[in-house]
Structure formats: C-alpha cells, structure tokens
Symmetry: C2
Subunit: 413 residues, 2 copies
C-alpha cells in the first residue's frame, strides 16, 4: 500500500463536472489500495473574481485581508470535492490550511511553509478516508490566514507529501508530462519519462510553466518523488527524480526558451571597480529581476560595455533607470532591444561532456542565426538570438541533439 | 466610551458599494469614541449560490462539508469590509468564527454556540481597531467548521456582545425598527421605540421576521440590550429591553399575524385517555411542527373533536398522516382548511389587565368576523379567522387598541 499525494489545479476542478471527474480518478487510486491525500486549487476563475472584488475597494488590498479573501477559493473546492467523493461512495474529509496546521511565516500573499502537523491527516487515512486539503494557504503562528502566492498549491502538495513521507507526489495538470521542448514550436517534441530535479528547475525557470519552481526546489530538498501527469488523459506522465536514478546517458534533456526577454546595453562606461554594482543596484532597488549579465572590454580604451536582460514587462522602467545611471557615470550611450528571445539547452549530462557548446554554436551558425549573448551554468547553455529565429533555432537544435521523437505530439496546451 | 456590537445582514453587504456604506457607518460610530465589533453575513445571494453548487453534486450534501462550503460566504464579507474600513482610514481586522473560537456543538448546519474566547478581540479593540467577525459560523471542539443555520448571524452578534459584555448589540436590517403591525396591511402602523424581549419573541415567532428568534432568546438570557435599526436610513430604531425598563403602561405592543397557517380537524374520535398523543405523535414523528391545539367535546356522545394548525407547507403531508391515524382510531371524519390566518395581540401589559380578550372579540364581532379558534398565553391572544378577514381584522384591532400613529409609514419592506 502506497501513500500518494495528488494535486489538481484550477482547470482540473473548474466545474462541478470536472470535480466529479477528479473524484472518480481519486476513488480509482484508493480502490487500488493506495492511501490518497488530495490537494486542490480554487476553481479556475475564482481567484481572479475575488481579486476583482478587492480591487473595487482598494487598488492595493490590505495583504492580510486579501489572504482571508483568497483562501475562500480553495475552501469551496475542498468542500465540493469531498461531497463528490462521498457521493461516489468514497469516504472523504476536507481540511483548510489552518485545520491541518500548515504553518507559514507571516509574509502575507507570498508566505513560505515552515511546518505541517501530519497527525490529523494520518488518523483519517488510517480510518480509510481520502483527505482533501486546501492548497495555496496556511496560517502563521498567531493564527492569521496566509497564502503562498500564485501556483502555491504545488508547493502545498509537495510540503504535505514531505511531511507524510508519501511515496509519490503527483501533480495533475493540463499537460501530460514534461516535453523536450514546446510541441507548438517543434511538433517532433517528445515526452520525457524522467527528468532530474536540477533539469526541471532549469526548464521551469526558463519558461516550461508546468510546475511552480518553488515546489520543485522543495521536492528536491525533501527528496519527494514528483510526477507530472494529465488530469484529463491517461499515461504515466513524467517522473522528476534524482540523478542517480537516471540510467540513460542523455546529454541534453530538453530545450527551453523564453519570449519574455529584453536586452539593455550601456556603451563606453569608464572601466573602474564597482561599475557593475552602480549599474545594477538601482535596477534591483526597483524590484526588477535581471537574468543574463555580460561585461566586455569596449573598443574605446579604458571603458567597458555592459549588457543585461530583464523581463520584457520591466523594460520601459529599466531603460528609464539606466538612462539616469548612464548620465551619472558619464557613459557614452544606452541601447535597448526588445526583439530578442532566449534559447537554452538543459541536461545533467552536459557536465561530463565537452563539445555540447560547440555543437550548439555550429548548429545555429549553419542556419545563419547570429548569437547576441551567451550564458552558461552547470547544466544549461543559454543564447540570446533575434526573435525571428526562435522556431528555426529550437527545431535545428532539437534535431542536432537527437531529441526528435518518432511520433509527433501537440498536447502541450 | 461604549462597546457596541453591530450586525449587518446579507442585503446590507450585498455589493461593494453597500459594503463601503457600511464601512462609513461603522467608522462614524468609532469616530464618536465607541469601540466597535462588526458581525456580518454573506453577501446576499452568495449562500444560495453555494448551496446550488453543492446540490449539483448531492441532493442532500454531507452536513460537515456543507458547513465548510457555506462558511466561505461570510469569510469573503469580513475580508472586503475590513479592506473598505482600512481604505476609509479606519484600522480594522477580520476574524473567522474559528479564529475567535466561537465554540459550538457538533450539530452541523444548525450548531449552537457554547462559548466564545473574547481575549483576542479585546486586544484589537484596545489597540484602536474595529474588529470584523464572520457571523453564522463557529468551530466544534475538534476544530471542524460549523454553521448556526439561516439567520445565525444575529445569534453570533448577540453571543459576541454577551461575551464582551457590550453595552448594546445593534442589528442593522432593511427595516427601521419593530412596528405595531405590518405597515403594508395597516398604513397607520407605528414604530415602537421600545419593546420587551418577551413581546419581541411573540412578535418574531408570529411572523414579524425582523430578528431571528434564537438571537432574541439569547439576548434575553444574557441580558444584552438589543436594538433593531435600518442600515440604509437614520433613526434610533427599536430597543428590545427588559420589562422593568419600560415605563409606559401600554397594554398591547403590537399585532402580529401569519398567513402560513393551515387547520386540520378530526371529528368523532372515541374520547379516551391518550387520544391527543395518538393523533399528534405521528405528526411530530414526521417533523411537522404543530402550533395551536384545541380539543372539544363532540356533539356525538363519548367522542371528541380535535383540531390543530400546522404550517401551510406541511399541510398535505399532515393531512395524509391524519387520514391514516383517523382510520386507525375509528374517527368519523377528517377536515382540512388552508384558507385561514392567525391574528395575535401581543403585550406584557396584558397580564395585569382583564378585558383585553373581550375587547378583541367584540371588535372582531362588530366587523362581522367569525373566530374559528382561540389560543392564549401570558402575553398573547391569538385567533384564527378566514383568510379574507386578515386586513380588516388587523386594522380594526389596531384602532380599537389605540395603536394608530399620527403619521403613516410604509418603510417595512
């Protein structure tokens, strides 16, 4: 008998009919002899509806009260799913985050889980009940309701799985697993049976929005086997696991990309210690996250050129700040470019294998794609190229690194 | 500085605009120097929407889970009202029933309050905050969410007022007080400045649906001064208080009536001990509440006629049960009548004053109204008459007992 934590997102519980479908699936797991804890999100659209009500009152709602408001979304779902399970003949009991003591810090709207009291849930499981827990929410030490921020239900599920020492944490979503790249860009993209936590982290942060990144970190830290699978179809999905469990020697697991990048460059900055800090400090102070950073000796003597990328939404503000900084530093010129994308190769095999970078660069060169920036990490190589080359670049790399599957798929929606 | 508990019902918080209006009113009380605890219901329509969702799954939703579901309604309101108060510059903090430990028994959907932990609320009040508490809900000893049943927010407010030893519990509603009778029937109806708890209980149970009856009982038991007033208009409403505080010597406070009655009669029942029990036992077993009961010696020797009234909704089922009982007892005939109404005079002064009954009967006789049944209590006389005489009867009695006001009013909606 295994103990399984299953998490269903907002789309999977978006209507009474879908809640009943989820109930049937949960019941099937339990009928197979497994103990099941279900973690659910708010019905799709509900969180936005509640935020809309709050915004009618305050442009920036009081964080504590916003959490009281938003946490009702998941509470509605746990009650309805428990009813649907009971109606299907499967004993069930619902719990809010407060009721199972999902203890968090007091950072309203983006709280972090500190501890979970698994005792109550254990008693229900032993009594043969399915336990349905509200994701996304917790309580702080004073009993105030907190929420974990968007996508926090994934983290709730992993935290509960860790606390209960569950055999597996299954994240049901609207895709049937993790793919070598986005099938909408490369129809030959192949579903991966397994991927390591580190690879998944790189894939997630690079735009494969299958799992919330914090939940992957959490699962890796507490060594909770995590599986992504479809709540609508069948199949075993993708297991996210530890490096030692991966037998095949694939060099590259997948190709991630991001259309949300924008590039900023300051030309001719006097080359002196502290320049990077002087340029990036004001950007960080404005809460703008910087992704890639490159500094080069400039053509002109005793000066340097400095380039970095930000999220495209932050571009106008970043440019404004940079203009001020450049004037202050006596830099020659500021350039901005929003017509770029980032393509990344991800794979733990990269560590032990030279030549991946050169194959990547030659593949792109053969297609006539000019590389604007390069950045590397232990298990990732990212390049920035002109936006128009995104599809061409991804497909060429997908083929060059032997990722093409035999059958095409387009189930990533 | 007084400590006031204010309760606003679903209509008063039925939209963001109305919530803002309530916030302005609460702020005004606080600005006058009072400490204010606000108890709110779900936004009007929300509870029905949630019940509708549950019914799509189960005709009779699991009671425990229905409470988890329904309690979100008030939780939404407390968050929004707290935001509106903060937006208006009035520090506020919201609490669910669980958070202020409104301890109830475990009778889901109709729980009764056992205890309230006032400590947390007290600390907020001392810190100058308005405290906003979700009505209608609590928790049992195991931490399960419970609800008090429809109208339970009134009871929550009174219980909180009792626990905090509040100076007054104000129930804001869509009427501006308690009237001598329904102004839609008698435009000369007059708003009462004061009424005793006992009179209010009789008025409430007889169809003046201003306050939930349990909350009036509760207020009487814990001696919480209760005031009914309009959340839309101004004015001091009606204070519900103790007999010793009432100075005027009004014999009759008001005239209540009910259109929801139906009458059942068994003719020619053998007159033997236990007949009343044999007739009413099966009715009670079917959970049908019986109101008035009359037993008379029948014209035929050694038999008796037995008459009682039930709610009109229960009439078909009661008639069916009574037919079976009558056959079993060897009774002569069963009669049913749904074309009746009940009119009641209510007033504590009645106790010390003979002649009220005779003035009532003669007034009705002068209008040619035939009395079908009579029932009396310490502070009430009720008569059953034909439905068509309702308006005529109420108006004639209103005049005969000197209740007519100088100005007409029609604010009871």
């Amino acid at each position: 008998m295994a103990l399984i934590v299953q998490k269903y997102g907002g789309t999977s519980v978006g209507s009474i009919e879908r809640i009943q479908t989820v109930a049937a699936r949960v019941k099937r797991s339990r009928d197979q002899g497994d103990q099941v804890v279900v973690v659910v999100s708010a019905m799709s659209g509900e969180t936005d509806r509640l935020i809309g009500l709050a915004r009618e009152i305050q442009e920036r709602p009081v964080p504590r009260e916003l959490d009281v408001l938003l946490s009702t979304g998941e509470q509605v779902t746990i009650a309805l799913l428990s009813m649907a399970l009971e109606a299907a003949g499967c004993p069930a009991r619902s719990y809010t985050g407060a009721q199972v003591h999902i203890l968090t810090d007091s950072a309203h709207n983006k709280a972090r889980i500190r501890d979970i009291d698994a005792a109550r849930v254990g008693a229900d499981l032993d009594a043969g009940r399915v336990v349905v827990v509200a994701g996304f929410q917790g309580v702080d030490e004073l009993g105030n309701i907190t929420t974990l921020g968007r996508g926090g239900s994934d983290t709730s599920a992993v935290a509960i799985a860790a606390a209960l020492k569950a055999n597996e944490c299954q994240i049901y979503t609207d895709v049937d697993g993790v793919y070598t790249t986005d099938p909408r860009v490369e129809p030959k993209a192949r579903k991966l049976d397994r991927i390591t936590f580190e690879e998944m982290l790189e894939m997630a942060s690079l735009g494969s929005k299958v799992l919330q990144i914090r939940s992957v970190e959490f699962a890796g830290k507490y060594r909770v086997p995590l599986r992504v699978l479809s709540s609508f179809g069948e199949g075993d999905g993708t297991l996210i696991t530890f490096e030692e469990d991966i037998v095949e020697e694939a060099k590259i697991s997948g190709i991630a990309f991001s259309r949300d990048e924008a590039k900023l460059t300051v030309l001719g900055v006097p080359d002196q210690p502290g320049v990077a800090y002087q340029i990036l400090g004001p950007i960080a102070d404005a809460n703008i996250e910087v992704d890639m950073i490159i500094q080069n000796i400039a053509a002109q003597e005793a000066t340097t050129d400095f380039t970095f990328t930000v999220h495209r939404n932050d571009f106008p503000r970043a440019l404004e700040i940079l203009d001020q900084t450049a004037a202050h530093l006596g830099a020659r010129q500021v350039l901005g470019d929003t017509g770029i994308v980032k393509i990344s190769l991800v794979g733990v095999g990269m560590r032990s294998h030279a030549g991946i970078a050169s194959l990547m660069f030659s593949t792109l060169a053969n297609e006539g794609i000019n590389i604007r920036m390069i950045s590397t990490s232990e298990i990732k190589i990212s390049v920035v190229v002109d936006e128009k080359y995104l599809e061409l670049g991804v497909r060429a790399l997908h083929a060059a690194f032997g990722l093409d599957g035999s059958t095409s798929s387009s189930s990533l929606s």
